[in-house]
């Protein structure tokens, strides 16, 4: 049964900027200050923090405590989460669990990364031996392998992907925080003609790496009322899967972890797919949107492109999707990118999305995707259902 004992009472998102030259500490500071102001609470209320790991300070083994020191926080619970783009939604769930366990009462969930200014990642592991010497073009290469296989099994409709590209770009044009470089209208034809990076992944399938941060204040509903919170969003359902079909040496790579995480989140929320009013899914590549719709049960496997063609995902459509532009059209703030989709969901549920505000704003489904295993689909999948307090 869905519980409504925990609430998000404030949020903030910085502008998403290409090569800002700013430290992730500075960006996190801006996001926290904005979230505190938005929630109307004092910094001293915060006694827990969950932060996403980042590329720009990837070598730092004390990132959480150092960040909290920079922010002037004294904590009873401090957590760094390395689920990549799934960290922000994962951290909301971790904050809920920590609060329910009595470890802390009010949590700052924060994600900041300046990957386009500085990238200190050094992953090594099997990649150093069995990936780097064969030159796969990183995530675009992996998503190309997934797309090619999808095309082989089901047929891939490039125009459907183009429709998603245009819908998200139109949303970014209405988002003052979206990266300036991306704020140009595009057409389906522009998508189809954009240069191939790793066939069939085109330039306009991909995110552009930027810098940025988001922050959220999570506390008990009881405390929120005492603090005089005017608006609340309840996390009511969550599912997570790290690694999927890992012990199957020859899995279907068009299948993925959201086929576990999605139904789990829905069941916990006491909802079905048809009850979801808006989708804010993680979007590092357009094909990931199609796959997630299939995995979570919005349509059958192989029917994702048909589903896209049948629905209007604009902010005025029947199933608004990534109404802030998504990462593909607003910019990907490194590993903090997943927090963009989350921030947009909270913003919409608070009714603060301005000209792109959706009409039906009772709930939203947010997802996260993180890391790409060897020759498989993505490794970390999260699904988080949020509900606006009545």
């Amino acid at each position: 049964m869905a519980q409504r004992d925990i609430a998000i009472i404030g949020y903030s998102e910085t502008p998403i900027v290409l090569r800002s030259g700013r430290s992730q500490y500075d960006l996190a500071g801006e996001a926290m200050a904005g979230a505190l102001k938005h929630a109307g609470i004092d910094k001293s209320e915060i006694d827990g923090m969950a932060v996403s790991s980042c590329f720009s300070d990837a070598g730092n083994p004390f990132y959480g405590p150092i960040l909290s020191a920079y922010l002037g926080l004294e904590l009873n619970w401090c957590q760094v989460t390395d689920l990549g783009g799934a960290s922000a939604s994962g951290n909301v769930a971790r904050a809920v669990a920590a609060i329910r366990a009595g470890l802390c009462e009010t949590v700052l969930v924060v994600a900041a990364d300046s990957q386009s200014s500085e990238n200190k990642q050094s992953i090594g592991a099997f990649r150093g031996e069995f990936q780097y010497p064969m030159g796969i073009m990183g995530p675009p290469g992996y998503f190309a392998l997934i797309s090619q296989r999808y095309d082989h099994q089901y047929g891939l409709d490039a125009k459907a992907l183009g429709k998603l590209a245009v819908t998200q770009r139109n949303h970014a044009l209405m988002n003052p925080l979206a990266c300036e470089k991306l704020k140009k209208p595009i057409t389906v034809d522009d998508y189809l003609k954009s240069p191939m990076i790793s066939d069939p992944i085109r330039m306009l399938d991909c995110v552009m790496v930027c810098d940025g941060a988001s922050a959220f204040i999570v506390t008990t509903t009881e405390r929120a009322k005492k603090l005089g919170a005017k608006k609340m969003v309840h996390p009511i359902g969550y599912g997570e899967r790290v690694n999927y079909l890992e012990t199957d040496p020859t899995p279907d790579i068009t299948d993925g972890g959201h086929s576990v995480a999605g139904p789990k989140a829905l069941k916990q929320a006491g909802m079905e797919v048809k009850d979801i009013q808006m989708l804010q899914p993680y979007d590092d590549f357009l094909i990931a949107l199609v796959l997630q719709m299939e995995h979570m049960g919005f349509c059958k496997k192989g029917q994702g492109c048909a589903y896209v063609n049948e629905h209007d995902f604009s902010h005025t459509g029947d199933l608004p999707l990534n109404t802030g532009g998504g990462q593909i059209s607003a910019g990907q703030a490194g590993l903090a990118g997943g927090a963009h989709n989350l921030a947009e969901a909270v913003r919409q549920l608070f009714g603060e999305a301005g000209e792109r505000q959706v009409k039906r704003r009772e709930n939203a489904l947010v997802t996260g995707i993180g890391w790409i295993p060897y020759g498989r689909n993505w490794g970390s999948s999260t699904a988080l259902i949020l509900e606006a307090a009545q």
Binding site: Q131, Y132, M134, G135, G138, L145, I197, T250, G375
Partner: protein, 141 residues
């Protein structure tokens, strides 16, 4: 579709594999142009890439067995861009190969006519150099 013969656009540019201690048998095998797979005799299954335990049982009793070197293309991409340290190579093929032993290998396909490149295409093992290390790739069978 136009036909292009893709030999090995990455030749001479591949970085040396950064080896871990428990994968040493694989690289020792590579010196003799043998593609070694870990085999779990209890689960009766192979696994690749090498792991510190059997992914099937979590146990460490595994054998190293030579793969047949035969497989088929599970998926592929013709890549127009390469990450560092590669410098502007011509388009090259990245593929997931499913070996006869029922494991998949992420690799390149060399000496391949793009008109013949497709999912299900039979391939066989070939060896190139990554730095000074013998490195497995595949070519049309």
């Amino acid at each position: 579709m136009s036909t292009t013969m893709i030999e090995d656009p990455l030749a001479g540019q591949r970085p040396k594999p950064i080896q871990l201690n428990f994968t040493k048998p694989f690289w020792e095998g590579a010196k003799e142009k043998k593609f070694l797979l870990q085999y779990d005799p209890k689960a009766k299954k192979y696994q690749f890439y090498p792991r510190p335990v059997s992914v099937y049982t979590g146990e460490r009793e595994m054998e190293w067995r030579e793969a047949s070197g035969k497989g088929t293309v599970y998926s592929y991409t013709l890549s127009y861009k390469a990450p560092p340290p590669f410098k502007d190579p011509k388009p090259y093929i990245v593929a997931t190969i499913e070996l006869e032993e029922k494991v998949r290998v992420l690799t390149n396909i060399i000496n391949c006519d793009t008109a013949k490149l497709k999912i299900g295409m039979p391939v066989k093992l070939a060896w190139v150099k990554a730095g000074d290390t013998d490195y497995p790739v595949f070519e049309p069978a």
